[in-house]
Every structure is written in C-alpha cells, then in structure tokens.
C-alpha cells in the first residue's frame, strides 16, 4: 500500500515537469480545460448473469482534464493533457475511486476545411485508487478514430481501441490453478458514432461499440463458474461474501446522448447506454442499462 501511495505522486510530478518543459518550448501552445460533473446509474455493476445477482447503484462523477495542444504543422496537432476522475457510489462504496492520469492525442486532417476527414490517434494511462484496495490499478487505452463532418450538422466517426486494466495486487489463491487478479481485464473495441445537431443548441449522439476481451463478473460462490473462468477471488464489494471471476465475452453497447448547449462553454448532457455481453462460454448473456446526467464546462 505504501508503494502505491508514493508511486502516483512521483509519476504526477514527473508528468508535470514534462508539461512545463514542453510549454516553455512551445510559444504558441493552446491551453484548455474541460470539466464535467453529475450522476450516473448502472443497474448491473456486478455484471451478473442472474437477475437476482444484479447490483445497481448511483455514483456522483467528476471528470477533469487540462492540458495544451501544439499545432505541429498545417494539418497536425498534438494534445497532451492531465486527467482526473472521481466516482463516489451511494451504496457500494468499495467501487468509489479517484483516478489520475495523462493522455496524448495526435490529430491530423486530410485536407483543408471543416469537412476534411481527420484521424486522431490517442493513448492514455490513468491510475485508479479504489476504496476497496483490491481494485487499485492502472487503466490503459490506446486507439485511433477516423471521422468526417458532413455539412453543418452531422459528424460521423469510426474507431478502433484497445483497453486494459492492470490491478496492483494479486489476491490469495482460493482455487489452485486459478491465480491472478480477476480485475485484470483487456479488450479490443470497434465503434461507430454519429453526431447530429437537432437544433442550434441540441446535439444528439448515437454510438455502437463492439468489444471482445475479458470482463469481471461477481456472483455468489458457485463451483460451476470455475469451469469457465481463469481467475477467481473472494470479494465482499457488494456487501456479502461473493466471488469475482474473469471470463471472455463479447460486449455490444448501444448509446444515445443528448447535449444541450447552455452557453459557449457549458452544456447539459443526458446519456443512456445499453450494454449486452455474451460470454464466450455457455454462461449466457448479461446486460446493463446505464444512465447519466452531467454538466460540462470547457475552457
């Protein structure tokens, strides 16, 4: 625990030094700051297959990002930003966490004008400190998004992304042969998104993502799970002794979001996502509904 507490601040200090060094070298850097806060409700935090094992909860969420962008040439810009996240759950407080990390984004346009296609390549790493120490770890994401605006109202994009979560700790082995943290997960994501200005101040987004990789589910102790999982550990994160296990699954997520402009820099966002995961084994399908309401500010 001591090691974890010191790693993140040291890493943060190093990152800040790099930002300041780059800033001093970049005379025309463009600084920016984004913040959003609100609430999100997920009706299946446990990723449970059985209806009576589904655990839903509401979390207060805050996301902040600040950094700068340097235009490297007429069509390419590099953005570096520091990220901060916070999730505070109402009931299942073990899931509450704060995160601190960094993101790099290289964006290039293929041509001149607002309707020129663009490609954005990004990578980010965020360290998460959970209330339940077993979940502490790093999340990583890297991917590319290809997009294009069509006219004044429509923007369409497609993306490919790799995500991974690497937990710090390895829980005690409860089943010989199934070692390692069930919270270590990874996956490949393919997504498409369309954004449409319904009115001058209302932006509607539709998205679809297909992910293949591993997921963590929580269930009551069940020997059958051992047939399908490669990592198992005890957990009481949902208030009673249960087991967390990792399986392979294909997940499809359909999302719709509405963003209403409140000013040049602020917006109210309401989003809904339906998530459906099909286990690679015979475990079946689980699903989740996620609703969020956030207020965002950009400078």
């Amino acid at each position: 625990m001591q090691t974890r507490m010191t790693t993140a601040p040291r890493w943060l200090t190093c990152w800040l030094c790099c930002v300041l060094a780059l800033y001093s070298a970049a005379a025309h850097s463009e600084w920016g700051f984004d913040a959003s806060g609100g609430f999100t409700y997920d009706d299946n935090l446990s990723n449970a297959f059985e209806a009576d094992e589904r655990k839903g909860d509401t979390a207060a969420v805050i996301d902040v990002a600040g950094g700068y962008r340097e235009q490297l040439g007429t069509s390419t810009g590099l953005g570096l930003s520091l990220l901060g996240t916070s999730q505070s759950y109402l009931h299942y407080t073990g899931l509450s966490n704060i995160g601190l990390g960094a993101r790099a984004l290289l964006r290039t346009k293929f041509g001149l004008g607002a309707e020129a296609p663009w490609l954005a390549v990004s990578a980010q790493a965020v360290y998460h400190n959970y209330h339940d120490d077993n979940l502490d770890g790093w999340s990583y994401e890297a991917g590319a998004t290809l997009g294009r605006r069509f006219g004044d109202r429509l923007t369409v994009s497609g993306s490919v992304r790799y995500d991974a979560y690497v937990a710090n700790s390895t829980p005690p082995v409860i089943v010989p042969g199934l070692s390692g943290s069930p919270y270590d997960v990874y996956g490949w994501n393919l997504g498409v998104q369309a954004r449409f200005f319904a009115t001058e101040s209302d932006l509607v987004s539709l998205s679809y993502t297909w992910r293949t990789g591993t997921v963590t589910s929580v269930t009551e102790p069940d020997l059958e799970i051992l047939e399908y999982s490669d990592r198992v550990s005890r957990t009481d994160i949902f208030g009673s002794p249960e087991i967390a296990y990792r399986i392979n699954a294909n997940t499809q997520t359909i999302g719709i979001a509405w963003s209403h402009t409140l000013g040049q820099r602020t917006a109210l966002n309401v989003a809904y996502a339906y998530r459906r995961s099909q286990a690679a084994s015979d475990l079946g399908v689980y699903y989740a509904n996620v609703i969020s309401v956030t207020f965002s500010y950009s400078y």
């Binding site: 990002a65 950094g67 069509s75 004008g113 004044d152 509405w258 040049q264 966002n269």
Partner: protein, 220 residues
C-alpha cells in the same frame, strides 16, 4: 454687367466648389429578423441604376482573429479592396476560403501576414480556420462603394450618396432566400433620407462554439 458666357463659367465654378455634402443624399435602412427583433450584421448595398460609380481608391481593410473568432463576423468591402488578417491570439491560425469570388489560404501563422489579400470580385467570401473549425466569418465584396452593415439596432445609415435612382438590397449570413429577392428601388433626391425596411427569415446556425461534447473527456 457680366457676359452670359462668363456667368455660366462662374456658375459652374460655384457648383464644382460646393461641399459634396450639399449634393449628397441619404438612405436609412432598418433590418429585422423574422422574430421582429433588430438584426445585426446585415449588409445593405445601394447600386446606382445609372451604373456610375466613383473611381476605386486602394484601401486595406482588416479582419482580426481574436479569442478564436473572426472580428468582425461580417466585413463588407468594395471590390478591389485589400483585406489584412492579423492574428491577435497568442496561438496560430490557418485562414482559408473556398468561396468562388476569392479562394485563398494563409497557412499556419501568428501575427500579421506580410501581404494583404485582394478581393477583386463581387460576392460573398466565407472564411474559416483549418485549426479551429468553429471559426466562421464573411467578407461581403460589393461592386459599389455605397454599403453599410447593421449594428445591434438593425439600422444602416448611408450618406454621401449622389442623388439618383438606386437599387437597394440586403444580405445576411443566415438569411433564407436570395439576396436579389430583397431588391427595392428608391429615388434619392436630397438630404431627406429615403427609408427602406426588410424583415428577413433566418436559417438556424449550427455553430455552438467550443461546446463540450458528451463522452469525450480530455482536452481536444
């Protein structure tokens, strides 16, 4: 006793030396949106029906870039004018236009470009920045020097117009329909302003500037 020929010469001299204002007429225009509110940024143009225009003098107009916006949003100029595009932000901009009356590009720059841009063909030139896609501005290139842009009260006052018959029209970046459909004919006789009025139906503007986007945390 003055000879008739000498009297005519004196009369001509007096006419030539009279202040121009004494021969000038005025036009007062009032532009409103479809909701009845005064409409700023509308360009009112008066074209003499006899086609007589004063000679062009070289002028350099300015469209600034301030806080990642074109200032002014609409800039009317006479055809043949030059426009300078100073970047007053401490970041770089990349100004361009695809509009047929003037296609040009000022690649990534800070400060003031060395050469102003010549706008020699009448028409509407839409400006953009290749770095900040929400940036939008217009240069209205008029074939006549008799034009003005409405302020917040929707009014345009044109004076120093030679008396005569004019075709007067209005243009706004968001107007529905064509500019030619707004033409009104007026006769300007003296200093009593002729009055014209338009009510323009407007298209929506899908340009929330720097609006945060849902699901995209992080600096863009």
């Amino acid at each position: 006793m003055i000879a008739p020929a000498a009297a005519a010469r004196v009369a001509m001299l007096v006419c030539l030396t009279l202040p121009a204002a004494a021969l000038a007429a005025k036009l007062s225009a009032n532009v409103r949106g479809g909701d009845g509110k005064p409409l700023p940024n509308a360009v009112v143009v008066a074209m003499p029906e006899d086609g007589r225009l004063p000679p062009l003098t070289k002028t350099v107009e300015v469209v600034d870039q301030i806080d990642k916006e074109f200032v002014p949003y609409v800039k009317p100029v006479r055809a043949g004018s030059y426009v300078q595009f100073p970047n007053k932000d401490n970041i770089r901009h990349h100004v361009y236009s695809f509009s047929p009356p003037k296609r040009f590009e000022l690649p990534l720059y800070s400060g003031t470009p060395a050469e102003p841009v010549l706008f020699d063909k009448p028409g509407i030139v839409k400006l953009g920045c290749n770095i900040h896609d929400w940036m939008l501005g217009y240069v209205y290139v008029a074939e006549t020097p008799y034009f003005g842009k409405s302020a917040g009260d929707g009014r345009v006052e044109l004076d120093q117009l030679p008396p005569g018959r004019y075709q007067v029209r209005v243009w706004h970046p968001l107007m529905q329909g064509s500019e030619t459909a707004t033409v009104q004919r007026v006769e300007l006789r003296d200093e009593t302003p002729a009055r014209v009025q338009w009510t323009l139906k407007l298209n929506p503007e899908y340009r929330p500037r720097r609006m945060p986007l849902p699901g995209e945390p992080g600096y863009r």
